[in-house]
Structures are given as C-alpha cells and as structure tokens.
C-alpha cells in the first residue's frame, strides 16, 4: 500500500496537523500495524519538497507533529491520477484499492467508477491469460490458472465492494 499517497489523500479532505493526520490514518488503515510517527513526518517532508503540500503554520512547541499541512493543486492532481489509474494485479493490490475507495468516498469522488476501471483492467488481464493458455504446455497452463484464480478473487472482492459503497459511505461520515 502506498502510504505517501494515502496520507496525501487524507490531506485532500481537509488541512491537518501532523499529529491528527497520523491518528486519522490509523483509524482507517492502521488496523494491522499503526504508522510510526517518524515515517509520517519523513513522508510529509518529502511531499512538501515535491510540491504536493505546503506548511501553513506552526504551533508553539515546534516539532513536526505541531505543523499544519495543506494540499496544493499539484497535490490534488497527483491524488486524482492515483485514484483513477488502475493497478496491475499484484499482492498489494487489494490494500491499494481499498485505500483508493475510502479516499474517493471521503472526497466525494466516483468510487464506483474507479472500481469499474479496475475491473476492466483485471478482465483484460484475464483475457490475455486465457488466450495464453491456448496451446501452452500443461505446466504453463497450471501457472496461468493460478494467476487467473487470484485475479478472479480480486474481481469478486471488487464486485462485493461495489455493491457495498453506499453502506461504506454512511459509516465513514
């Protein structure tokens, strides 16, 4: 899962202090493993350097947790590109897709559409794999079948999540 983009996405909802940002993140995504403060600050600093964020104020006491960050137009573009670019099937796809979905719901973007895009991408991969099975030797067929079943699992999750968007939205608010 891409932490930096997720943090940027959360800042796209509203400007926030570093400290509050980390807690937000943990609340939505930190189920298994909460994010370390150091990682958060390093990521935020890098994104300021890249021009996606600006610091807009500091509270007395001066550490990074007391700094206020705000997203820039460049940052917003980066988020949109991230959300609406489908991922290649991989191990980390699900957590990525989950993050994108949550961010889209929070920012009132079309979560259903991004899921559709991902689905179409998956189908394309499946088509390619299926075509590849034609005339392949049995060992390769087994390999392709394995990949196909994984992609299918993703697709089933996508279908289910698509059907649950309304419920998710209600709970996130």
């Amino acid at each position: 899962m891409d932490n930096s983009l997720t943090l940027l996405g959360l800042l796209g909802v509203a400007p926030s202090y570093g400290y509050d940002l980390k807690h937000s993140y943990d609340r939505y995504f930190g189920l298994k493993k909460p994010l370390a403060f150091g990682q958060v600050y390093a990521t935020l600093a890098r994104m300021v350097r890249d021009g996606f964020l600006v610091e807009t104020g500091t509270e007395a006491g001066g550490g990074p947790d007391r700094r206020r960050y705000e997203i820039t137009p460049a940052g917003r573009e980066r988020i949109a590109a991230w959300m609406f670019t489908p991922d290649v099937p991989s191990e980390s796809l699900q957590s990525n897709l989950f993050a994108k979905t949550v961010v889209a719901l929070l920012t009132d973007e079309d979560a259903g559409h991004l899921l559709d895009l991902q689905r179409a991408q998956h189908m394309q991969h499946m088509r390619a794999l299926t075509r590849a099975k034609d005339g392949a030797d049995i060992m390769h067929v087994l390999l392709y079948d394995h990949a196909l079943f994984h992609i299918e699992a993703d697709l089933r999750w996508i279908d289910l999540t698509s059907a649950r968007l309304e419920a998710m939205k209600a709970q996130l608010k």
């Binding site: 689905r119 179409a120 189908m123 499946m126 088509r127 794999l129 075509r131 079943f149």
Partner: protein
C-alpha cells in the same frame, strides 16, 4: 429472411464489417411492474465474442432474449445486419431462431425423451431435412465436439459437460450467424467449464460465428473479446476489444 452465404473464418483482431451484426437501440421491456430494460444500447460486430455481465436482476437475460428474437421489446429497435427484427411476428421469429441463431442455455434445454443424436438433429429436421441426412450431419457435429460415442444416450445418462456439448452441437448444426449462450457454464465444474468454453470458442472462431455470452463468472467471460456490464436495465460499461 434468407441468410447470407457462409463466411470464411475471421480473425478476432479487427472486424472489418462496418454494420454491426446485432444492434440494440433504446430497448425497453416491462414484465408487469418490473422494468427489466430501460433503454439498453449495444453493438456487436460479426465474429466477435461478447460477454454480457451484471448483477442478478440487471436485465442481462432479458437483453439476450430480445437480441435473440425470443421476446419482442416494448420499445426500441433490434437490428440484425441492419434489418429490424423487433417487430417480426411469432412465426418469423421462430424461423429466425431456427436458421440464423443457435442457443446454448444453462441447463441445455435438451428433450429428455430423445437421444443425443436425435436432439442434435432436431433443428435440421425442423427445417425440412430428411432424417438420414439430418442424422449424418448431427453425428458429424457430435464427433467434432468429442462426444460421438454418446450419440445413443439420453440426456439423463450424460454428465453435465457432455449434455452441454450436445446442446452446442445442436446449436451449431444449422451454421448460425450468432450463437447465444446464457450461463453455459453455470452448472459445470471448473474443468468441464473450461472444456466447454474452449470448444465453443474454437468452433465459433473456425466458422466466423458471433458469440453472445451471458455469464457472471469472470473466468468464463475471459474467453470473450470484450465484456459489457449491465446494471438496472442499462449498459453501464462497454469496453471495446483491445488487441492482445
């Protein structure tokens, strides 16, 4: 309605025919209070394999039935190679289904009283061919699909996969332009499903037949060139084929 002379096999990459073989425009269909199709639109090119997917109740079966001339829409047009078939009478639509379409449905829809061979030869007999010739052609199809030895068995004595192959043989016996399959792998296990789909795909590719396929199973849909997603009686996603 005479069907055109049999076409040479086409590659799936770039259909060169300009007019779609099947076209649906603003289709509406109601069953009592249920509004099954609400302005569905679709184009299918000759030789394509199209998968129609969607949640249950989305109207995909209704769309297929309209395209296949099984039922007539309340509003909208269905064009087969440019001619409107939505307004045809019952007898004309029956003729259409017999000579230009083929059907493979989830449960085969075979006649339980007849043998595999007789089932496969039914369309030929309906069209007026003599019994001997019909049986000969049907037997050839059964062989082509690898179930020549089951010719004398009745559907109850066949496995699901074998029964589906008989259905495919029957569907292809009249060299249709379009083959319609509604959840053809729905009742099959993974291997039978794969065998069935491979067979269907190979056969339609070889003959240049268009295949319109309804399925909720992604691995089955993966045999298609493109998928179309239906939601609430409308086509919501329609991806054109991307060359491999």
């Amino acid at each position: 309605m005479d069907r055109p002379h049999q076409r040479p096999p086409r590659s799936h990459e770039s259909p060169t025919q300009v007019i779609p073989v099947l076209s649906a425009r603003t289709l509406h269909k109601r069953f009592g209070l249920t509004h099954a199709l609400r302005g569905a639109e679709l184009d299918i090119m000759a030789g394509e394999i199209v998968a129609i997917m969607g949640p249950s109740g989305s109207g995909k079966s209704t769309l297929l039935h309209c395209l296949a001339g099984v039922i007539a829409p309340d509003e909208g047009r269905i064009l087969l190679s440019g001619s409107d078939i939505g307004t045809l009478g019952e007898a004309a639509r029956s003729r259409l289904r017999l000579t230009r379409f083929g059907f493979v449905f989830q449960f085969g829809q075979l006649l339980p009283e007849l043998t595999a061979l007789d089932n496969a030869s039914l369309p030929l007999l309906l069209a007026g061919k003599g019994r001997r010739e019909a049986r000969r052609e049907a037997a050839a199809w059964l062989d082509r699909l690898g179930i020549g030895e089951q010719a004398g068995k009745r559907p109850a004595q066949l496995s699901g996969g074998q029964a589906q192959r008989v259905a495919i043989a029957r569907a292809l016996a009249m060299h249709p332009e379009v083959l319609f399959a509604d959840e053809p792998t729905g009742a099959l296990d993974s291997l039978s499903a794969e065998t069935t789909m491979t067979l269907m795909r190979d056969q339609v590719r070889a003959a240049g037949t268009t295949l319109v396929l309804i399925t909720h199973d992604p691995r089955t849909a993966a045999y298609a060139d493109r998928e179309v997603i239906i939601r609430d009686g409308r086509v919501s996603v329609d991806t054109r084929a991307v060359a491999a």
